[in-house]
Symmetry: none
Subunit: 207 residues, 4 copies
Amino acid sequence: MEKFINLDDTKKQTILDAALQEFAEHGYRQASTNRIVKKAGIGKGMLFYYFKSKKELYEYLFEYSLDIVVNAYFKQVNSAETDFIERLKQAAQVKMKAQLENEQVFNFLGSFVLAKEAEMPPHLQKKYTEMNTLAAALMYEGIDKSLIRKELDADKAFQLIRWSIEGYQNELLQRLEGSKISSIDFGPYWEEIYGYLDILKKSFYRE
Amino acid sequence: MEKFINLDDTKKQTILDAALQEFAEHGYRQASTNRIVKKAGIGKGMLFYYFKSKKELYEYLFEYSLDIVVNAYFKQVNSAETDFIERLKQAAQVKMKAQLENEQVFNFLGSFVLAKEAEMPPHLQKKYTEMNTLAAALMYEGIDKSLIRKELDADKAFQLIRWSIEGYQNELLQRLEGSKISSIDFGPYWEEIYGYLDILKKSFYRE
Amino acid sequence: MEKFINLDDTKKQTILDAALQEFAEHGYRQASTNRIVKKAGIGKGMLFYYFKSKKELYEYLFEYSLDIVVNAYFKQVNSAETDFIERLKQAAQVKMKAQLENEQVFNFLGSFVLAKEAEMPPHLQKKYTEMNTLAAALMYEGIDKSLIRKELDADKAFQLIRWSIEGYQNELLQRLEGSKISSIDFGPYWEEIYGYLDILKKSFYRE
Amino acid sequence: MEKFINLDDTKKQTILDAALQEFAEHGYRQASTNRIVKKAGIGKGMLFYYFKSKKELYEYLFEYSLDIVVNAYFKQVNSAETDFIERLKQAAQVKMKAQLENEQVFNFLGSFVLAKEAEMPPHLQKKYTEMNTLAAALMYEGIDKSLIRKELDADKAFQLIRWSIEGYQNELLQRLEGSKISSIDFGPYWEEIYGYLDILKKSFYRE
DNA sequence: AATGAATGAGAGTTCATTCAT
DNA sequence: AATGAATGAACTCTCATTCAT
């Protein structure tokens, strides 16, 4: 694996892209190392020279993808914004941008949920959970709780708001499933989401 | 397939359980018919005597599972209750009970979303969608919209409430993952969920 | 096998027909005992009660078919006819008639050549050869050798004539391959064959 | 398949022989790829590395065999000889030699006729027919028809002569079946065949 | 006499992984 | 550092044969 890390960037990227795409498209087990080396234009032996097994390759891709997501998404969320809903709104925009720019990585991570626990080592599951925890932390850090109506438990309210938004995002994803992400006009969806955010504000925030 | 249906119940259940578990654990393609017969304690040939192919087995399990879910869950939801949040509360209780009693089935259906459309025959996709439509209909039918604060769009509000609850349920599921479901004391969780429902009422309902 | 022989004729015939057809259509190995019992309308076990194995069934069918051929074909050849070519002509007519009336049997025997020696016991091969020898004997018995031009070895001439006719029959068979035998108009072929027989007479017979 | 072509000749030949033998002995469907690899002494996977399927292997063997037959047999027939029977005589000698040197190939091709059309792709059927047409053309090209007695239809006479000879060859083959071809003393047979050819000349040719 | 459920070996094929070059 | 030929276990599925009923 260190062998792989020391490769020059172009080659590294070619291989990463080939592998991410293959795993995203076929899932862990159905992904074919044969197709990966063909797509990447390298010899069959090299893949197992860089990574000692298919699983190690997968785990590497996983950690690599988490890194990308953290840097291109989480770290771009404006933590100066103290209004929770506004921060969520900005986060959603950042996420969309990051997804556009790292389609393979997001597709790959999206497909991770599919790889059943039985086959995936627990430490990956853990990392994934940690990432989600980090994301949540970033989401709540420095938030102005006083905006929430005083008769409500602010933390629980935040959770409910987050779940609502995530629910909406999932539903949106299902609706868009199949469309090529780069060809979607998000205009109408932003309007829709603003509608929902407005209701959330009216419901949970003080007047 | 009729061959299978006419089996005595104990044997049928053993095979069903083995297959549901295998598919839930590994997904469609990665599931091994070899492991299924070993788990079920039947000869290699019998599975293909009962079902002419792996796919037919999968489809049977799918329809079987839908039946269970509809009967043990959806049909148990009290549609006389016109308060949306109260109905959701009752539904959540029914769902927990159904899940407890049909662990494998719920696991299996949960894993279905993941099976790539390409492999699954359209009529299964259709059935699944129909089930979800039915579920939504049951959830919203006869609901008293006037409980929602008049300045909010009632339908959107219902959606937000639903997403909130589903989000909570998912999070709960992840937290409990690994624990043997039958050994969980749900007491504290009900309190927690009531806390959330309370907030939702305060936020979205008229005073 | 004696079990089978003591069955009443209708049932026996049903089973024979089903088996002959299956073997003729798929060859020995690809023939499915499952399909045979289904076609014959008997239980799976009965087939192996009557015949202890697929091979025994095949061998029985083989001997049965030889019997039919000998009785419906060879024995019908008019041995009073002393002109060799005339006898061959009559034999060809009788053969066509027999084939029409025992399509299954002839198809089955035709497919026998396919079953490679490796799998078929030598005594079947032997029987088959014996049948051919018998056929040849019948063909030559009581033939008037004096019709053959005196400068020719009569026996060798007969052989050549026979091979010629068989060659023609084989070529005809290949040409007709695929057509349903009962729907063929043999008219034009008889003319053709008479043409050939005429040449043979002119060539091998005294003037 | 190119993978196979680039193998060194010894290995290629080992595999070819194993496969030709297996197919010749058992026919297409009943031939076992398992037995082929065992006979050839290669790993199970290699066969499918060289040829992507059993069918592709079969088709390769088929075209390979046609090539051999055309080059080692047809092309060796002396087309300068204008006497039909003399040409047939020479052809028979060439054929025996070719058969001796390519036993497997001739056995394999001999078994091809048996493989039911349904399973074999039409282009193979076509090639086979083309080969036969070519063979016939070679046999009749430049032949001096004036040798045939004037009262006979020359073309039909040629057919009869050809069928006669083929019939003799087949009978010879059946008689020799089982003997190791390389240990046969063909001396007596040539005498026999010359006897037959002599009769044919006396019968069909002008005096 | 009759059934058909049950078995397990074997079919063709795929694939991660190794290793000689 | 790089190749791709080679392996063999595992895959889904078929089938002749047996056996409890």
